[in-house]
Point group: C2
C-alpha cells in the first residue's frame, strides 16, 4: 500500500505532523511560507493521504455502495454512469455489486456494506421478491439508502421510478389504436414493483377501452432465456393467439423475437409489440422495436444528487419517505406500426 505519509513529509521538512496536515488542508492558521513548502514536497512526491486512515478518523468513507440485479444491461450501466458523474465531482467513490437477481446475495452484500464500508447505498432490488424482508438488516442502521426502478414497498426512504403506470397504460393504448384485440402482458415476476405498476396500466387501458381480458394474458416468465422462449412459443401456437404484446422488460421482448422466429408469425402484420427497453439499437432490430425507455442517466444523477446533498451538507434531514417519478419516453417503430 502507500509509503509516503504525513509523518514522512513532516520529518523531511522538520515540522510536526499536525502542521503538515493543516498545511495540506489549507488551514488559515498556517503561514503561507510553510504551506508552500509542504505543498511543494507533497506534489513532488505525489503524496496521497491514506483514505482509510482518514475514513477511520472522520467516520466516513466517501464511498457509495451500488447494488444492481444485473450488470449486463444498458439501463443499469447508464444509471451508474449518471451517478458517477456527480459523485466524482464530490470526491466520492463507487463500490458496485451485482446481486444476480438473487435475494440471498443481496442480503450478503448489504451486511457487508452496513459495517461502515459505505456512507450510503443506492439499490435496485432483485426480482425474486419485492417484500423487502431481507432489507431489515438496514432497519436499525442510520445509513441513507435510495432505491430506484425496482423498489420495495414498505421501506421508508426516497425511491426513484419512472411513470410505470402511465407508460404501461399508454403503451397498451397505442397497441389498441393499432387494432390489437388480444394483447398479452409479459412480466418477469408478478412480485416486482415495476411489473405490477406497468401491469396496472395495461389492465386499466384494456378496461377503459372495453376490451375483454383473460387471466392467461398475463404471461409470467422467469430468468432462463431458453425457458422463456419455449414458453412464449407455446403462447403463439395457440389457435386463439395474441395480436399484441406489451413486454414489461427488455429481455422478454428479445425472447419474443426469438420465439416468433421459430414460428411463421410476422411482426407487425400479425402481432405488434411494444417493450420497456433502454437498448440503444432498438432501431436496428428486425423489425425495429417500439420502446418505452427510461431516462436512465437522469435517474442515476438524481439518486446521487439526493445522497450528495444528504452527505455533504450539514444538518440535513433523513431522506424523505416518498416516490419520485421521472417520465419515460415512448418511441414508435416498425414492431407496432
Amino acid at each position: 500500500m502507500a509509503e509516503i505519509t504525513i509523518k514522512y513529509l513532516a520529518e523531511k521538512l522538520n515540522l510536526a505532523p499536525s502542521t503538515v496536515s493543516r498545511a495540506l488542508n489549507d488551514s488559515h492558521e498556517i503561514s503561507s511560507g510553510t504551506k508552500e513548502k509542504v505543498m511543494a514536497l507533497a506534489k513532488e512526491l505525489n503524496f496521497q493521504p491514506n483514505p482509510y486512515a482518514r475514513s477511520l478518523r472522520e467516520q466516513k468513507s466517501k464511498t457509495i455502495g451500488v447494488i444492481i440485479p444485473e450488470r449486463i444491461n444498458n439501463f443499469f450501466s447508464q444509471v451508474i454512469d449518471g451517478m458517477e458523474a456527480v459523485t466524482k465531482a464530490h470526491g466520492y467513490h463507487l463500490l458496485v455489486y451485482n446481486s444476480n437477481e438473487d435475494i440471498e446475495q443481496e442480503k450478503t452484500i448489504l451486511s457487508l456494506l452496513v459495517g461502515g464500508r459505505v456512507d450510503a447505498i443506492v439499490m435496485s432490488i432483485s426480482g425474486q421478491n419485492q417484500k423487502g424482508e431481507h432489507l431489515k438488516v438496514l432497519k436499525n442502521r442510520a445509513i441513507p439508502i435510495v432505491f430506484f426502478d425496482r423498489i420495495p414497498y414498505d421501506f421508508p426512504t426516497t425511491k426513484l421510478i419512472t411513470n410505470d403506470y402511465q407508460a404501461g397504460y399508454e403503451g397498451t393504448v397505442h397497441l389498441i389504436n393499432k387494432g390489437c384485440k388480444k394483447i398479452i402482458f409479459l412480466v418477469l415476476s408478478k412480485e416486482v414493483s415495476i411489473g405490477k405498476e406497468r401491469m396496472r396500466g395495461y389492465l386499466d387501458a384494456l378496461k377503459s377501452h372495453n376490451l375483454p381480458f383473460d387471466e392467461s394474458w398475463i404471461v409470467a416468465c422467469g430468468h432462463s432465456e431458453i425457458e422463456n422462449i419455449a414458453h412464449l412459443e407455446k403462447v403463439f401456437y395457440k389457435i386463439d393467439r395474441p395480436d399484441g404484446v406489451l413486454a414489461s422488460v427488455e429481455k422478454l421482448a428479445l425472447a419474443t423475437y426469438r420465439a416468433l422466429a421459430k414460428t411463421n408469425i410476422k411482426m407487425p402484420e400479425q402481432v405488434r409489440m411494444v417493450s420497456f427497453s433502454n437498448m440503444k439499437i432498438a432501431d436496428l432490430l428486425c423489425p425495429p422495436l417500439s420502446t418505452i425507455s427510461q431516462p436512465a442517466i437522469e435517474i442515476g444523477v438524481e439518486c446521487a444528487n439526493l445522497l450528495m446533498k444528504r452527505l455533504t451538507k450539514k444538518g440535513q434531514p433523513d431522506l424523505e419517505d416518498k416516490i419520485v417519478t421521472i417520465p419515460s419516453v415512448f418511441t414508435e417503430r416498425e414492431s407496432s406500426r
Copy 2:
C-alpha cells in the same frame, strides 16, 4: 457509519477487546466457551468489523480498482462480472471507474488509487493514446496491475488479450472467401493496441490472398456516433465502393448499419460485414451480424485469478511481464453470407 465495535461487544461481555477480536478471528488460544458467547452476540447484533480500521491496521484494503473506458458496453460489463465472481469469493471488493475514453480522467483516477485505496488495479486503457506515458504515476509504486483488451506497450506486467491478430486475419479471409474484393477496415484509433493487431491480421490476409490494398481502406473513426455515420456514408457513396467491411469495434459496425440504412446498398448482397462484438443480440439485427466475440467473462475471471493469487498467497513474485492470449469465437451470420 458503524456503531457496533469490538470494544462495545467487549463491554457487553465483560471481556477485553483483544479477547473479542481473537474470538471473532477464531484464534486457537481462546476457550470454546467464550468463542461461542462472542460469536453469538456478534451475530445477534449483526456486528461487522470496521473495514477501514482493519485496512489501516493490516495495510491492505481488500479492494481492487477497475478502470474501463466505457461502461455502456457488454464486453466490459461481462469482464467485470467475471472478476466479481472470483473476488467476491475471496472477500474482495470492486471499485469501478469509467474513464470515458479520456486520458486525463485515467490519470486522475490512477492518482486517486495509488494512495492505498486499492490493493491492485485492473485496467483497459482509453483509445486516445496507447503510449502509456500517463501510467507513470504507477512506476514507483508497488501496486500490482493487470491490463486487458486495450493494453499499453511498454509497461512491464501481465496483460490479457484475445488473439486479435489471428481473429482479424480469419475474419478477413472469411470475407474474401465470400467473394469480397474491396474490404475496408474500420478502426477507432490507429493508436489502440487491439486496433493495430486486428489491422495487422487484416493486412496480412489481403496480402496472402493477393488482393490489392489502398491506404484509404483503413477508415479511422472517432467517438462521435453522428460523425462516424456521416463519414461512413461518404465511404459507401464512392463509385468504387467497398464490398466488404471488417469492423474492429462493435460501435463501428452499428454505425455501418445506420450509414447503410441511408443508402440503397443491401447487406449482404452488395456489402458483407464481420465485426468484433460481444453483443448478445447480434442474431436479431437486420441482417444478423457475423461476429468475432471475446470470451469476456473468462478474461475477467483470469484477471482476478492472477491478482488473487498474487495478493492472498505469501511470497508471490511480481506479476510477470507477459501477454496472455485467449481465443475469440467467430460466428457466421447473415451479414456475411
